[in-house]
Symmetry: C4
Subunit: 221 residues, 4 copies
């Protein structure tokens, strides 16, 4: 190979910075585009229209929190990397594909509101498969970084460890919810909401922040 | 804990940089998406259509300035932080949720233009609750940063101090406008406009810039 | 003032970096959102529909190049700044308002294609006033930076000097085109196109690049 | 010239950083906006509607991968640059124009699904010309950087070399597909998909990653 290890590392680091910038962009856009599909849908009085749309708001919230959790995990994984390589960049692209696809099933759920149960089933299933793919691609990126020793020495970032600890539960519930959604679409949405909350909230850190006196701060990030 | 304080700070700083990048992305997108909901609405001559839409333009302007003020306050708060922690990241996510939701009530106001008073009431109330939530989440982030000593030593950034000084007035007017909007929706929009101007304009700095001779520049940022 | 000059400069520099990030975001989104309003409009064969839409493509191209020119001028102005102050941040916000509003008149022009001459007049006039406002706000930011000595010592960036040199001509043609557009909307669009090309193309640098032998490169940026 | 070589380089480097930020923004937005044009289109049962839309999904995937490949090549070219000059900035703007235009033909393909063959021909041809333009502008930027010696000393980045190696094949297939698309639009879409895969996948690196034992990692980025 023509370029030596030193140049390689510099370049890998530069590329990592741009991969983060591009990923932050895609994640920020996907999370913000979700709002475009909220709408007051006739019939009914304005207040009824607004309130009757609660599944659309719930789907919006679930998608927002799911992308937010993906951003936190991505940020935390990337923080831990020394550099990235060419294959990691492509895995990242697939991860971004799954995230930026999510507004589509979210919109389908909103549209399926007053349609047939079969519309709801299709919408909820596509939603479930998409969030499952997002989580699996994060796991694949983490595993690849481990295998190729892209990570820095030292203990993993707490959010990364959290994401890894919660992975099995999240995937199991996702699989269950996808199956359940074929019968009871609304129950599946509630389960996706529960997983999003489970992924976003750092339970131990919140517990410590509540118990601890303000003066003792700084002992946990 | 496995990682020492030094690594922790480095990571917290890295994370802060990406939190800023992600937040800048979401705020920039939310503020720019607002334009998608402007439209010339029949009936009437083209000029009449364009001019008759003034509440939609006003709502656009209010939303633009409100997000702009939120960006300035966020930027100024974040400038003052040494690092961020895991809970701060989640508070930031909730703040971004409230900001990126704002285009929806803004669109509702534009759509309610030639509809019933009840449409306008719903639209204006949702708008008011959203801008109130944005402001309260900024206050929560500031208070949390204070409590957990995430801030740098030294006096706060002037824009941050300004935001804190103006907070009580803004929240009070927001609460009043939400109540008033149930009776007089257009008056509420005008009040939201007034608060946005109040939050964006740094009165003292403007006053000094006008009074001061150009040569004396540099004494106030 | 509580914070000394040193802290102030550090903060002004940090804020400048985030102002650039936020502005890049808004400009990038505004320039990319333009594509959402392109559409094949019946009636006619598919090819006829595609080709008949040429004013919409022209408006798209003019808006794209106008925002591109604004980005180049903004980048070049910001490069030359030592730091930014609070009032500059607000001027920048107004500049972003004018840029992010531009997709609306661009859409109006596309929609006015097969409508009355009066629709076209309204659309073209709003477009002209918006691009004029963008240019004037850039001039205001440059003048304010000069007055408050925010600029670095040394000669201005070549693109900034170029933008200043071309300002009078651009504003004069904009004013003429706004007046002319009330009679001949299509002529006005062509003039806006000419100004966009005039602003984007660095004639001297292009001339030198063509004349110069490749080996002599590096003498002009 | 008033400013010396040193200032020039610093400015060229600053400008390069903002060119990357702006380009990342446009590319991230273009790749994420694609999702807005996915839709379930009547008639048929919900599942039929969802599945029947496969050409729209394929076009989405092709456009996503094509923009992803363009981002990887752009990132890799930019990594290799010492600084950028004024003409390079404008070439970059044209490149961004071609990328941000791509969502329009992608939407045309989705819309042409159940329309006449002639709609499909127009949509596929515009798509092909756009992706060809993107690739040619990347080649022009690479050639210009070479001619003006904007590149760093040393061997090119592997992804850049890859992009250059694959350029001729990609352009040849694009030209063939544009011609073929006039007769067989669906075959052309499949060819664009094949080129996107060909451009995105780093075959040698993947081969080495598969063959190599995990422990031997680090010998190839």
């Amino acid at each position: 190979m023509a370029d030596d290890a030193n140049t390689r590392t510099t370049r890998g680091t530069l590329t990592k910075a741009r991969m983060e910038a591009f990923s932050d962009g895609v994640l920020a856009i996907a999370i913000t585009l979700l709002v475009l599909d909220l709408a007051a849908r006739p019939p009914g009085s304005p207040l009824e229209q607004f309130l009757r749309d609660w599944t659309a708001y719930l789907a919006y919230l679930v998608a927002f929190l799911t992308i937010g959790a993906a951003w936190i995990a991505h940020n935390s994984l990337s923080d831990d990397l020394e550099h990235v390589d060419r294959i990691f960049l492509r895995l990242n692209l697939l991860f971004l594909l799954s995230v930026s696809f999510l507004p589509f099933p979210t919109r389908l759920i909103g549209d399926a509101l007053d349609k047939s149960a079969s519309s709801q089933r299709v919408a909820v299933t596509v939603f479930g498969v998409t969030v499952l793919a997002t989580r699996l691609l994060l796991a694949a990126m983490t595993a690849y970084a481990e295998r190729e020793r892209l990570r820095r020495a030292g203990a993993p970032d707490l959010d990364l460890q959290d994401a890894q600890d919660k992975m099995r539960v999240a995937v199991a519930v996702y699989l269950g919810a996808i199956a359940l959604g074929l019968l009871l679409p609304f129950v599946a949405i509630v389960l996706y909401f529960a997983v999003a909350i489970f992924l976003v909230v750092p339970f131990r850190a919140v517990g410590q922040a509540i118990v601890r006196k303000p003066a003792a701060s700084g002992s946990e990030r």
